[in-house]
Point group: C2
Chain length 257, copies 2
């Protein structure tokens, strides 16, 4: 059987330990091509670079034994360049994004470059998974993630995903034997409550720096936040159709305005 | 009756004619506060600025007769700063974003700074509407948009929107008497087919520039693309829950892996 072609990307940049961990698993399963940002791109959401040129360079020594490229653009740019400039007629069987340093559960999916890259691949018809570990540290320990990354990747390669779907997978930062298993769940209805640090730069000019607190008032036991708090790996099937079908029916009256 | 407080933002920047058109309507309805990017931020999606400071300056002369601020960050940053730094305890009754120069119908919602700003407001519990005109030109004619912008804004102020919902409103670039009315519809399942222009900079270094073609293979007559092609204003109620509930049921088997 032909080995699957696996496109790997992330938002923490090509040198991040998380992508190294992901590549170590992907290499066991198939042929790997990496296209990742040349610098950290956290919080870039679904941003694309339209007002400036993008640089793209091979960097085959960045990750042992795999064809790799670094890109000056956003994670979504990486996927677009991978598809249309690097791979061209070679269609990836799957796209893996991550492993992100830090949670992308709940509402974080819309701010996350890691998940937006996976969503972009899903728009191209490529089944895709975004993986995140609940540890923001650069030297986070990804060891216990690896068997689950392998299992889920092999599952999706075998069974596929619904058209236009991706998986948002978050992994608790605990020892392997503390993981209670996997939970397929919905995105918790949580959000960030922001604050801004206000300070002055060396020239006396005021600036603001975003900070915030994650608040979950969604008490369902079917959410990703519940799963993670109970040491399960959360698996949320996600999609790009943002239509609120319930609200659609209610709003039909607008047409008569 | 107290006049409503209206937060206005956009992604084309505080000097764009589209935001000027939007403010001209908002001023007729209520008290207006503008917080908008100090430079164009198209295609920024739901990006937030986390790795660098953000500048925020009053610019009350930018838009006649309204309190206005310009911000060095993304459209989503603008909404966060508006809420937490500028307005604080003054809670907006509605957030209006746009009028965007160019379509944000269908999949464009996920790339659009205009719509991401509206979505961010909806996350803060503020009913919000993103308006876009199907004309990318700087000197686009927004005149025929204004009565519809007013009507929809007043409708949402009176009736509210479902919790966490926003409206994605797109307006055909035609004469006023050619508009057939409004259609409440779903997001068409269309996408961009990318190409990249490849060229060399003055130092002989290769660069890529994103371009692309919008392709709609969704033939439903209940989509925003159908509505726009038939000279209707499209109104898509949208939301931030990206869970694919249908896929969720199918995937439950993963839990037994």
């Amino acid at each position: 059987m032909k080995r699957p072609l696996i496109l790997v990307t992330n938002d923490d940049g090509i040198t991040a330990p998380g992508i190294r961990a992901l590549v170590s698993v992907a290499r066991q399963i198939g042929e790997v091509v990496v296209v990742a940002p040349d610098s950290p791109q956290s919080g870039m959401g679904h941003a694309i670079t339209i007002n400036s040129p993008i640089r793209l360079h091979p960097n085959h020594t960045a990750l042992e034994g795999v064809e790799a490229y670094e890109c000056s653009g956003t994670p979504v740019d990486c996927v677009k360049l991978a598809k249309h400039v690097i791979l061209k007629d070679r269609v990836p069987d799957i796209c893996l994004s991550g492993i992100n340093h830090g949670s992308n559960a709940s509402i974080n999916i819309i701010y996350s470059g890691t998940l937006s890259a996976a969503m972009e691949a899903s728009l191209e018809g490529i089944p895709s998974i975004g993986f995140s570990l609940l540890d923001y540290a650069y030297d986070a320990n990804f060891e216990h993630c690896l068997p689950f990354v392998k299992q889920l990747t092999e599952y999706v390669l075998e069974h596929g995903l619904a058209e236009g779907s991706l998986l948002n997978v978050n992994i608790p930062a605990v020892e392997h034997n503390e993981i209670n298993g996997m939970r397929v769940c919905r995105q918790a209805d949580a959000r960030w409550v922001e604050e801004f640090t206000e300070a002055e730069d060396p020239r006396g000019q005021k600036y603001y720096w975003l900070t915030g607190k994650f608040v979950n008032e969604d008490l369902g036991d079917d959410t990703d936040i519940w799963a993670l708090e109970n040491n399960y790996i959360s698996v949320v099937p996600s999609m790009h159709d943002l239509t609120n079908y319930q609200a659609l029916k209610v709003l039909k009256g607008i047409e008569k305005l």
